[in-house]
């Protein structure tokens, strides 16, 4: 060991070095010196201390390991050749102990053979120095490693921070997902006539599927898609679901729900974010399907009888949240459906599904499935199968959302009575309304009137029946009294569709006439009697003759009259037949519907 020349050099360097030799926390670097030669140890210690470092010096490999644990040095200068645990072995232990923190280990050796030197690095050293030590080289190396160590520490803390942030974000997403899942799954999707496959990423894809029943029993279903991905796409689903579920439960028709959602989104969404959607109403009992489509693929109807595509609804409106509500076309189109017919809705993930050649499944391939004569009951599975065949990789079927609704008049709201409030004790009250032609043209007053009835007497358990009575009487007054539509129009093939088209047409041009509705409620023992009277300004009809027909041919004529009679204690026509009054009795004990 040729120390003397080195010492001189060190004194000079030490004068300039101390401030540089600090670790990241502005504390002096702590160096562990390991050498079995006491003289060399002392020399190195002296040298490093003059450079401004804190030094722990030990004389064996075993002591080095113990000191490493106890003193937690920032860096190690390690002699290779030592009796007992040699430098290589000590290094191995220290590496095990230091985990993922970076502790530079520099071997001090007398070896000058290149292979042996390479061995130093192979055995876990970061670098080596040969004796005699050149203080300038020593200082330069320590400085370089100190910098590297700082860099490593910075990267590591950023990595830890990122990992922490990721965990946090994941938790947030889980919470959000829970909330969104509840939003999505409230309502009527459990109906036995609805089959659906929803992309597992649906929520954060901005896809929304909802189903709910009107008090009168019609099914409302909405499938929509917000622009974009992630939370920004998902956030709008909550107000939309609230409006859809709330307004449907109160009996509002599709056009008013569409307008309300648009209004809301227009107000809350930033420009460029919008909601493309389809809303449909299925009145299975009356074979009527109505839909509004804004910016999503066609709704397809599979005819059970003809085993072929029987109809479609095509996008006719802007998506929601794009235009001011008065510029939005909220009207629904209607068609007649038959029991057993299947209604298909899907997101663009279906026609746009790609195979390994990057070809798209396409609308044409999808519609081909509708024209191969499949049994209606297997078509849904058939479409999914074709899609999987096309893609060749079923595990990719992630962004596919497909819904099938079967027209089934026997299905009703699965949650009808689940959260109905008990009626208020009966009281005496009355209310009346008068609707002019102008208000009838653009507005369906039934939900509003139902709301009044429900709020006043809290007859939620009787909601469906009362709605039925009110709707039958009101629609009779409107369709036959004011619009003068002939029921026999419904009888021919495709009659329902024709009838409703004609209704829309005449309603749009209605400019004279009035309908008066009055409610009178009276106490009757533990319950009450709700009298509903509806008077229209139309010419009336020969109700004596009509009632006789109904009595003589039950089921053929006047289904509406029979339905009202089945729940009311009386149904009386007066005037020229333009005044009808039905009395609905109820008692507190009823837990009907």
């Amino acid at each position: 060991m040729n120390a003397p020349p080195a010492i001189k050099a060190v004194t000079r360097l030490a004068d300039v070095a101390p401030t540089e030799m600090l670790n990241a926390q502005r504390q002096p670097l702590k160096i562990l010196v390991v050498d079995d030669e006491a003289v060399f140890r002392a020399l190195l210690q002296n040298l490093l201390e003059k450079m401004g470092m804190q030094v722990v010096a030990v004389g064996s490999g075993a002591e080095a390991v113990a000191s490493f644990m106890h003193d937690q040095p920032d860096m190690v200068l390690m002699d290779v050749m030592m009796p007992g645990v040699d430098g290589y072995q000590a290094t191995e232990y220290i590496r095990d102990l230091s985990g993922d923190s970076f502790i530079p280990i520099i071997f001090i050796t007398t070896i000058s053979d290149e292979d042996e030197l390479a061995q130093c690095v192979m055995r876990g050293g970061n670098d080596f120095l040969t004796k005699p030590i050149n203080p300038a080289v020593l200082q330069a190396k320590i400085e370089a490693f100190s910098q590297l160590r700082r860099l490593y520490k910075a990267v590591k803390s950023q990595r830890d921070e990122l990992a922490q942030h990721n965990r946090w974000l994941k938790r947030e997403y889980e919470i959000a997902e829970g909330v969104f899942a509840k939003v999505m799954h409230s309502g009527g999707l459990t109906s036995p006539n609805i089959k659906y496959m929803l992309s597992p990423q649906a929520i954060f894809n901005g896809d929304l599927l909802l189903a709910a029943y009107r008090p009168s029993g019609e099914l409302h279903l909405m499938l929509g898609d917000f622009t974009g991905h992630g939370l920004s796409a998902a956030i709008g689903t909550i107000p939309v679901a609230d409006i859809f579920n709330g307004m449907t439960a109160k009996g509002f028709p599709i056009p008013e729900i569409v307008a309300e959602i648009n209004q809301k989104l227009q107000r809350i969404l930033p420009r460029g974010l919008f909601f493309a959607a389809a809303l449909l109403e299925l009145d299975a009992k009356n074979h009527k399907l109505s839909a509004w489509v804004g910016g999503v693929p066609d709704i397809l109807i599979y005819g059970a009888e003809q085993k072929a595509l029987a109809g479609r609804f095509t996008s006719t409106s802007f998506p929601l949240g794009v235009m001011a509500t008065d510029q939005l076309d909220c009207h629904v189109e209607s068609m007649e459906v038959r029991p057993g017919d299947r209604i298909f809705l899907y997101t663009d993930g279906v026609p746009e599904a790609r195979n390994s050649d990057n070809a798209m499944f396409s609308q044409e391939r999808l519609e081909q499935c509708f024209n191969d004569g499949y049994e209606p009951s297997v078509l849904y599975e058939r479409i999914l199968w074709e899609l999987d065949q096309f893609r060749g990789a079923p595990e990719q079927s992630d962004d596919v959302t497909l819904i099938e609704v079967t027209v089934d008049p026997s299905v009703s709201n699965p949650q009808a009575t689940s959260n109905a409030l008990a009626p208020r004790s009966p009281s005496e009250w009355s209310a009346s309304f008068e609707f002019s032609a102008e208000s009838l043209r653009g507005y369906d007053p039934l939900p509003m009137m139902m709301q009044v009835l429900l709020e006043t007497q809290r007859l939620h358990q009787h909601k469906q029946r009362i709605y039925m009575v009110l709707a039958e009487l009101f629609l009779n007054a409107l369709e036959h009294g004011l619009l003068k539509l002939d029921s026999s129009l419904k009888e021919g093939a495709g009659g329902f569709g024709e009838y409703y088209q004609e209704k829309e047409r005449r309603l749009a041009h209605l400019n004279v006439g009035v309908i008066k509705v009055s409610f009178r409620h009276a106490v009757n023992g533990s319950g009450g009697r709700l009298a509903i009277q509806i008077e229209d300004s139309g010419p009336g009809f020969d109700f004596q003759q009509r009632l006789k027909q109904v009595d003589e041919n039950p089921g053929i004529h006047g289904r509406g009259i029979m339905m009202i009679r089945s729940v009311c204690e009386s149904l009386v026509y007066s005037g020229a037949g333009n005044i009808a009054e039905a009395v609905y009795p109820w008692s507190l004990g009823d837990g009907l519907d």
Binding site: G228, G272, V296, S317, P319
Partner: protein, 101 residues
């Protein structure tokens, strides 16, 4: 280059050509492209000759673009769009807001 911009000699017509997929990844570039022509330009042309696909986020960007260059009085043409893109734009009723040729 996902996007190229061309301004006519008189500065009145700005043509923006989008290559490949038109989605949120070109958001910044697209914005810069129309921002540069604003003020002087009266007509905008989006050339989709080399555009393979448009996603819903890009459709949203079109609305922002339309607002930025005059809203209802904006004069924006979309040319050379492929069948699928025209279908998508029509489904969204964008043919009522943009001249699709």
């Amino acid at each position: 280059m996902a996007l190229t911009r061309n301004i006519s000699a008189d500065g009145k017509v700005v043509t923006i050509k989008i290559n490949g997929r038109f989605d949120f990844s070109v958001h910044q570039e697209f914005r810069e492209a129309y921002d540069a022509g604003r003020g002087k330009a009266s007509d905008f042309v989006l050339d989709f000759a080399n555009t393979e696909y448009i996603d819903s986020a890009a459709c949203g960007m079109l609305l922002v673009f339309r607002d930025a260059v005059g809203g209802n009085s904006a004069n924006i043409g979309i040319v050379n769009a492929n069948h699928e893109i025209v279908k998508t734009l029509t489904m969204l009723q964008f043919h009522k807001m943009f001249k699709i040729a």
